[in-house]
Symmetry: C2
Subunit: 244 residues, 2 copies
């Protein structure tokens, strides 16, 4: 499988949030990144490094990871196709966390110089890139709320609702069904719980007939009930076009 068209994914992600003019579209299409194929458990970006390019996922899933001294780790964001994993590296010079892959896939690295050029040429595109990083931050806030105040069970429901909508933006979640190739251990590192407990939460969702999850493919059987269990409100994903 070759790498999916990176620029189309990026445009889909942008256009879901606001209008993109033909000139701006041309600017984005002018980006030239280097494609990288990855397998599971590769380090796309290393903590402490000073990247000179930003990494867009085009297939598969990656995660930002903070490692603790006792060997445990916390995943502080998940990235699906169309996501800029480290656009913030354009501003923050030194990485305070790593980015690792959770599944096989593809990524494209765009040199910061090209992105900076875009910020010089188009204030509106600059705002849209900034907006992408702000949506990222909004997702992090919702994760904080889940970690702090939701049960592990509700947290898992919330996560699945979020992923389904985010994948739908890039056309990867038709009929509430999407590829979900995480190991349960990775899921535990997202939810901040043990692998054993993560497994029990998954079992519960299966028993409640809320999801079907077999072999890397996950289907949400009843989105409404899942969203209710999680008090899920998609407002924070900014899935509506705003006037410029």
């Amino acid at each position: 499988m070759p790498s999916p068209p990176a620029v189309d994914l990026l445009l889909a992600t942008l256009e879901c949030r606001g209008a993109v003019s033909p000139e701006e579209r041309a600017l984005v299409r002018g980006l030239e990144g280097s494609v990288r194929r990855f397998s599971r458990r590769e380090e796309l970006i290393v903590v402490g490094s000073r990247p000179v390019s930003s990494c867009l996922v085009t297939a598969g899933m990656a995660a930002r990871v903070v490692g603790l001294a006792d060997g445990s780790r916390q995943i502080c964001s998940l990235h699906v196709p169309g996501d800029f994993v480290d656009l913030h590296g354009l501003l923050l010079k030194q990485m305070d966390h790593s980015v690792v892959t959770l599944t096989p896939g593809y990524a494209v690295y765009y040199p910061h110089e090209q992105l900076r050029e875009i910020t010089r040429r188009s204030p509106h595109l600059t705002r849209m890139l900034w907006l992408l990083t702000m949506i990222d931050a909004a997702i992090q806030r919702s994760w904080i709320a889940s970690l702090g105040r939701r049960s592990a069970q509700a947290h898992l429901c919330h996560l699945l609702c979020e992923l389904c909508l985010r994948l739908d933006v890039v056309g990867l979640a038709a009929r509430h069904r999407f590829e979900f190739a995480l190991k349960q251990g990775d899921l535990a590192d997202v939810l901040g719980i043990s692998t054993v407990h993560a497994n029990r939460c998954v079992q519960q969702l299966r028993a409640d007939k809320l999801i079907r999850w077999l072999d890397r493919s996950l289907e949400i059987l009843d989105f409404r009930r899942l969203a209710e269990a999680a008090e899920f409100d998609p407002l924070y994903l900014n899935l509506h076009r705003e006037p410029r």
Copy 2:
């Protein structure tokens, strides 16, 4: 007590992260905001609203809050003098959370139009404002790591280390001593635990002679040990000037 000079605080926050040229300084000094005095438990920004200005705290402490249906709430960021609480409102149109005050203080509201004008006139200042929002996001990531993988005790240690350094940037934490007027219930909403448990964690820090906390004033008695207990690494706060 009158409102502290807002622009100086903002400049201190910016200059701690990078150089500001005289012209840029003039641009910032040209900002005209409206001052607001607040007491505890006021809502500076209401969830669901569409702000037309961004709010800079100049004295006291404010927090972004997500409320859950069962009446509980999670604080997903704390804001100290010099912090733009909702700069992201410039990009994200509708607020996905509220901002409430945790202590009395002052805030200044800058109309988005003025901020947008800055982004038109100075690409470098734009990047610095963007950087501020990115530091905010980095702090949120570290909170996620604490919520997910640290004990409540270590989480509290980490929080106090962070606050001490952030307050030091604006000169409000000389000799590891700063005003900390949160109620223990608010602290619990930061840490994602119950008030009772928060109290026990505080007691423990007192018993270990790591802090003294009396009457709104908190002193860190042994920063090094506190940082060790938390595995605190200040890298994420970006407290070093980077070349433009």
